[in-house]
Amino acid sequence: MESWKLARSGLSQIVLVIVGALIVSGAFFVYKSTAQSAGNGFSVSPTRIVIDSEQAQPGASVKTEEITVTNVTSESVTAQVDIRDFEAGDNEDGTPVVVIDEDRQLSTTIKDYIEPIEPFTLEPDESKTIQATINIPANATPVATTARYYSPRRTVVIRT
């Protein structure tokens, strides 16, 4: 319901996401210890960016507000920035769910509109501000009667 309302209002949203990955391994009849490396973690601010339809005109190039990424761990980390779709969760309470399957493409996707952001390394407690640039094709057409719009829901994923 929430995403439908947002789409109807012509708002485009970018949700900032932090990802941490772990390898789980075990050996069947074979045991091998594995050296541990540092954990990973970030703080991002803001957690959501809303771009209204006045900005997101066909043919426009929209820069988001600055996104501050901070390394909250005690080791240096290299941040990769992924662009992923997200959709409403099953309970429709406004909980966004990141689309994990890279082969699954939402009809509303604008992943290709967002310029890639180069990886960057942060020392402990170091922050960096980044901006996403959204290049909206001149022939993009809003469809306001459904949840489709040319940029309804997008996710910037910060990961190591």
């Binding site: 929430e2 949203q13 949700v15 900032l16 996401v17 932090i18 990802v19 941490g20 990955a21 772990l22 390898i23 789980v24 391994s25 075990g26 050996a27 069947f28 009849f29 074979v30 045991y31 091998k32 210890s33 594995t34 050296a35 541990q36 490396s37 540092a38 954990g39 990973n40 973690g41 970030f42 703080s43 991002v44 601010s45 803001p46 957690t47 959501r48 501050t68 909250v72 761990t73 005690s74 997200f86 969760g89 309470d93 406004g94 909980t95 966004p96 769910v97 990141v98 994990i100 399957d101 402990p124 996710t155 994923v157 990961r159």
Partner: protein, 346 residues
């Protein structure tokens, strides 16, 4: 002769007495403990002014003069009105000590005259609050208020007591603070307390897999946000596999059964098998019900494993992993990469 001298001395004394009466200036007593306090020192804004002073003694009081000057506090000098100051719309909103005053109609833009029926004073400390006085227009500009009391009702005639106060407008310094919404998330095999700087390790080794016992391991993640929508944490990945050989994932919560192929996780402090810890920290975020069942485990890629419906302080979750195998599973190194995804909700 002596009589003539006495007569002349008397005449001189009388003359001196008359000279002193006509030539020496009259000196009014000082109003003590005097102050004029504007509610705001911001230039060119209408604000409240509170005028207070102590009377040095009892006297007949019919009017009080409050004169704003831009050039000098000295009553002997001409008064230049401060530029921008405007008291023509002032109102007397409170009065204490000597009361019964109202603003006299002869008041001007820089001169407020309080008037009442003359009466002998009984109070010592007098206080009058005015509103709607526009302060001078320039920041950091000095100006003065000359106060005087009179027996007359219109601030004419002899001054009973007087005194002046210096004031200044001031450059306004606005201090504001914006607290941006943030989302903090860290992952490690170990996290001490709720401190991401202690996050360490990214490989969980569940050890040797055996049909006779459950292999276990755990990792931790910490999340916090001040965003009103809270956050969700998803897990993504595959079950443990070695080439084409896989350990079947538990699609729905189930207990650990050694001897059958199972891979699952939950976020509880389990007793069978003994693995994991309950969520800890000042926040109130909870595991998703599917992953919040003691001694029951499940795993589906993309599932939400924990969430906080509102802004939430730090919570450290312990993700427990179990792996069971049967006799037929080919030997090898089984592994998977799990990704925890923390998203701000709205």
């Amino acid at each position: 002769m002596q009589r003539a001298i006495v007569s002349r001395l008397t005449a001189i004394a009388t003359l001196l007495s008359l000279l002193s009466f006509f030539v020496l200036p009259t000196h009014a007593a000082d109003l003590t403990q005097r102050s004029v306090a504007p509610a705001s020192s911001e230039p060119l804004v209408a604000t409240e002014y509170t005028v207070e002073f102590d009377l040095p003694g009892s006297s007949t009081l019919g009017s009080i003069s409050v004169l704003f000057c831009g050039n000098s506090p000295l009553p002997e000098e001409p008064c230049t009105p401060p530029i921008g100051l405007d008291a023509s719309g002032a109102g007397l909103i409170t009065q204490s000590g000597e009361t019964g005053f109202s603003i006299d109609g002869s008041s001007t833009a820089n001169h407020i005259i309080l008037s009442r029926t003359p009466a002998v004073t009984t109070a010592t400390t007098l206080s009058y609050e005015f509103n709607n006085i526009v302060s001078p227009q320039t920041a950091n500009q000095s100006y003065y208020v000359r106060l005087a009391t009179y027996a007359s009702i219109d601030a004419t005639g002899s001054v009973i007591d007087d005194g002046s106060v210096a004031l200044s407008t001031a450059q306004q310094l606005n201090v504001s603070l914006y607290v941006p919404p943030y989302l903090e998330f860290c992952v490690g095999v170990s996290i001490v307390g709720q401190d991401c700087t202690s996050a360490n390790g990214n490989q969980v080794n569940v050890g040797a897999l055996s049909p006779d016992a459950t292999a276990t391991g755990f990792s931790k993640f910490l999340a916090a946000t001040n965003a009103s929508g809270g956050y969700t944490v998803q897990v993504a990945g595959t079950t443990m596999a070695s080439g084409n050989n896989v350990i079947t994932r538990l699609n729905s919560p189930a207990s650990s059964q050694p001897g059958s192929k199972q891979f699952g996780i939950n976020l509880r402090g389990n007793t069978s098998p003994s693995v994991g810890l309950e969520p800890s920290g000042p926040g109130t975020a909870q595991p998703n019900p599917k992953y919040n069942q003691l001694n029951n485990f499940a795993f589906t890629s993309g599932d939400t494993v924990a969430n906080a419906p509102t802004s939430n302080d730090k919570v450290t979750f312990t993700a427990s992993y179990i792996a069971n195998v049967d006799d037929e599973l080919p030997p090898g190194r089984y592994s998977t990469t799990l990704t925890y995804i923390c998203t701000g909700s709205f």
